[in-house]
């Protein structure tokens, strides 16, 4: 009994104070963290229970050296078995309902984002010659108005337009962000704090996955399909953007940053981008240089204490350069 109370208290305490998750930068992230804390509480309880029983059994029920007799003949206990079938069943049901609720609040059921769209038909490049899907140039996402996959608007924002929409293109090995309203193209994502942001994800070559750990959001970008992530950043700062689906040799370097700016900072950044829009040939020239592993580590440079200015240049491979040419 005492052990049970202690176990419950320890679980409750640890479930709230595990400190395992990174900072939560949106309200949706806080919802996920609440769910995780709850699961952590139950998990720690279960973990301690099982390991405790194991350890106690090992010490209490060891066979004495000269004891060759058998243990007691107990081969079942129906009420006990019903209890340990029923309680887990109830627990997973509760977690299931809780998860359902969190998913719904995040916008998982937004009909504009949650449907399974038709695959866009891609124009043939000639009888039988598909070759590699890479660098095919043509954007496979025609003018279809089909629904996207992923996390859409939260229920209270259902049906409303997002404050800012950004087109995200994943390609080996970079993310390219296009702001359709201003025509800004950038290798880093800037979004205004407190605004409803909608990212439209596409992939150029292979499957990528767009992951924002601090926002607990992830969605695959699949060639031929559109998907989206919609969220409201509440905490200013800069956060990693990571590709989470194996996409080739330099998958690990397909990293960039997302800056959550105050609205003023965001406006300033926008103006600066529009003003200093570099000559497209320069951009491509800078992208086309041969790369070494050191270049692939530049996304991490700030963690190594380098100046942020050094990160300014885009860091795509040749693939990136070609796509940029086509999309600009």
């Amino acid at each position: 009994m005492l052990a049970g109370i202690a176990l419950t208290l320890v679980s409750l305490w640890y479930g709230q104070n595990h400190g395992l998750l990174p900072v939560a930068a949106s309200n949706e992230a806080l919802l996920v963290d609440g769910l995780f804390n709850t699961m952590m509480t139950i998990s720690i309880g279960l973990f301690l229970l099982v390991e405790g029983v194991l350890i106690i059994a090992i010490f209490r029920f060891r066979r004495a050296k000269d004891d060759t007799t058998d243990g007691p003949d107990i081969d079942g206990n129906i009420p006990l078995e019903i209890v340990w079938t029923g309680i887990p069943a109830v627990i997973v049901l509760v977690i299931g309902v809780y998860s359902f609720d969190v998913y719904s609040q995040m916008g998982g059921f937004d009909p504009n984002a949650a449907g399974d769209p038709a695959v866009t038909q891609v124009a043939m490049t000639g009888e039988g010659e598909y070759g590699a899907p890479l660098m095919n140039g043509s954007n496979p996402h025609g003018g279809h108005h089909h629904m996207a996959l992923g996390i859409g608007a939260s229920p209270e924002k259902a049906g409303q337009m997002a404050d800012l929409t950004v087109d995200v293109m994943g390609l080996q090995y970079a993310w390219i962000f296009t702001y359709p309203e201003t025509g800004i193209i950038s290798g880093e994502l800037h979004v205004p704090q407190g605004k409803d942001v909608r990212l439209k994800l596409k992939a150029q070559d292979v499957i990528h996955a767009f992951w924002l750990p601090e926002f607990r959001l992830k969605q695959d970008a699949i060639p031929g399909r559109d998907s989206e992530l919609r969220f409201t950043p509440t905490r200013a700062g800069d956060y990693p953007v990571i590709c989470a689906e194996l996409c080739g040799a330099y998958h690990g370097s397909m990293v960039t940053r997302m800056y959550v700016d105050t609205p003023e900072e965001f406006e300033a950044w926008k103006q600066q981008q529009i003003a200093s829009r570099p000559d497209i040939n320069e951009v491509i020239a800078s992208l086309d240089r041969p790369r070494t592993d050191v270049d692939y580590l530049t996304p991490y440079a700030d963690d190594m204490g380098l100046e942020p200015e050094m990160l300014r240049s885009l860091h795509e491979s040749h693939t990136g350069a070609e796509v940029l040419t086509q999309s600009l």
Binding site: M39, S43, V50, R62, D70, G71, L246
Partner: protein
């Protein structure tokens, strides 16, 4: 409690077939004896385990530091692909098949499997498929992960990917042929006195695993055939550029590959259910519950595959359905874990190597089970999918579960297979190193994944460096931990203490014949006089079974 005392040797056992002696060369030929095949499977798969382990050690060496500095990123992807493929298709699956081959006929009192030649064929296909896969080291390594998702798998090297596909087709066929044997043998070839509820639980779990193999593996074969057409003939089933859909591949792949984790864990669930009662001298707790839970896991295992695709091209309703179905699997799994705990509770536990690994199995598997429920939850899985949290989870299930289970089974049945005991001291050292190494390697990965480290990367953010060093140290301990086992097994095989027929005083049929068993296993058709787990049962209890033990009465 009177003791069930079994004399060391069963009725005057002269080998029933003195003219047909086992020769050591049998192990290197197309031999159709299930015991030979079982050992062939186990030894071969262990060799592949060492190869896969060497790859894992190399991967961890690369990851000891953030930049990509140990091998080239291409080769790194090749290593992780081969590590996953080898560990799954050439180590855990065939090791389970090896145990099944060795044990099923002995446990049910049969002379051999139903189709001994097909059985031998299934084994030699493992060798062929494995050799083909290894040839990729010299030609070109497959580099798109063991999941081999198109379109990446279509553009990362035809030769390597082609080798991977055909190797898997061979290994899959082998697996189907093996499962065919298990299912037919278990259903049709039990001794007449053994009803389905007198069958050892290992047979139940192999029946469940066999049905999963027969249902799932062909669908994987279908996916691989289509992928091969895309790769080699230029069709576009999974290639969006030609109108195909890569997500269909993911569905077909996971329709097999999720059940595959049950195919890999169910045999060991069965083995644990055998080992615990013997070494705690107590009947298994809740025989029918454990038997049924195997079948329920087998069925549910078929309808949860899309939980690997919660961030992929799956609509919301599908994500919710697969979330609930996945979580429900925790219930039958829980029944097993609690049943095992109740089995050892109050028993007379002998902490030998087999038991240590069996208890270690429960201790670590439960962590994998708990994180399994967590990642079934869609909102949380969206955060940790494709991160090191998943890597940690899968290794707690497949290393903390399957590999610990295989070790437990090897220590437990080694005396039966070879007639000799393994060295206890070295067994305990082996357990200690494995347990510490395993937890040190994989526990920090949970935190890495939560913090934001994605999986399958050769280079990573330097802020993760410290935890990665811990993981790498753990992996080196794991690498070292295999040495005492190998030395112990080899030495004991030839020089170990003679075991006698039944060193553990166990009740299942395989212990009632000689060690190692004669070529046709039993002299005549054995007749059961006790249940498989009737430890501590007194004569009176058996003659008038008390009403509060309905579980074993049939």
């Amino acid at each position: 409690m009177t003791q069930v005392d079994i004399p060391a040797s069963v009725p005057a056992q002269s080998s029933p077939h003195a003219e047909a002696e086992r020769k050591w060369t049998d192990f290197f030929t197309f031999n159709s004896d299930h015991k030979v095949i079982g050992i062939q499977y186990l030894v071969t798969s262990f060799v592949f385990y060492l190869i896969g382990g060497a790859l894992a050690t190399a991967i961890r060496t690369e990851l000891a530091t953030p930049p990509s500095d140990f091998v080239s990123p291409d080769f790194y992807n090749g290593m992780l692909t081969l590590h996953g493929t080898i560990m799954i298709f050439l180590w855990v699956v065939p090791a389970g098949a090896g145990l099944a081959n060795y044990l099923i006929p002995l446990m049910i009192g049969a002379k051999d499997m139903a189709f001994p030649k097909i059985n031998a064929l299934a084994f030699w296909m493992i060798v062929a498929g494995g050799a083909l896969l290894l040839s990729s080291f010299w030609l070109e390594t497959p580099q798109s992960g063991w999941t081999s998702y198109p379109p990446l798998s279509l553009v990362s090297g035809k030769v390597g990917e082609g080798i991977w596909i055909f190797s898997l087709l061979i290994l899959g066929t082998s697996s189907i042929l093996g499962a065919l044997n298990f299912v037919v043998t278990i259903i049709k070839m039990r001794v007449p006195s053994m009803g389905i509820y007198q069958m050892p639980l290992f047979c139940w779990s192999m029946l469940a695993a066999g049905l999963l193999i027969l249902t799932g593996t062909p669908v994987l074969a279908g996916a691989l055939i289509l992928l091969a057409f895309d790769l080699l003939a230029g069709t576009a089933f999974f290639n969006p550029t030609g109108g195909g859909d890569p997500v269909v591949y993911q569905h077909m792949f996971w329709f097999y590959s999720h059940p595959a984790v049950y195919i890999m864990i169910l045999p060991l669930f069965g083995a644990i259910s055998e080992i615990l009662p013997v070494h705690s001298r107590k009947p298994i707790f809740g025989y029918r519950a454990i038997a049924y839970s195997s079948m329920i896991i087998s069925f549910l295992g078929l309808i949860v595959w899309a939980h690997h695709m919660f961030t992929s091209g799956t609509p919301a309703w599908l994500r919710m359905f697969f979330m609930i179905a996945t979580m429900i699997i925790a219930v039958p799994t829980g029944i097993k874990v609690f049943g095992w705990l109740a089995t050892i509770w109050g028993g007379k536990i002998q902490l030998n190597s087999a038991m240590l690994f069996a208890l270690g199995f429960i201790a670590t598997f439960v962590i994998g089970g708990i994180t399994g429920v967590m990642i079934a939850s869609v909102p949380f899985d969206i955060h940790v999918h494709d991160t090191y949290f998943i890597v940690a989870h899968i290794h707690y299930v497949l290393f903390g579960g399957s590999v610990f289970g295989i070790y437990a089974a090897l220590y437990h049945w080694f005396p039966k297979m070879t007639g000799r005991m393994m060295n206890e001291t070295w067994g305990r050292i082996h357990f200690g190193l494995t347990f510490v190494g395993m937890n040190l390697t994989f526990m920090p990965m949970h935190e890495l994944g939560l913090l934001g480290m994605n999986r399958r990367v050769a280079m990573y953010d330097p802020r993760f460096a410290d935890l990665n060093v811990l993981c790498t140290i753990g992996s080196y301990i794991l690498a070292v931990s295999t040495v005492p086992f190998i030395v112990n097994a080899l030495w004991s095989w030839f020089k170990g203490k003679l075991a006698g027929d039944n060193p553990w005083n166990a009740l299942t049929l395989e212990w009632q014949t000689t060690s190692p068993p004669a070529i046709e296993n039993f002299e005549g058709v054995p007749v059961l006089t006790t249940g498989p787990y009737d430890y501590g049962k007194t004569n009176e209890a058996l003659e008038s079974p008390s009403t509060d033990t309905p579980v074993l009465s049939s």
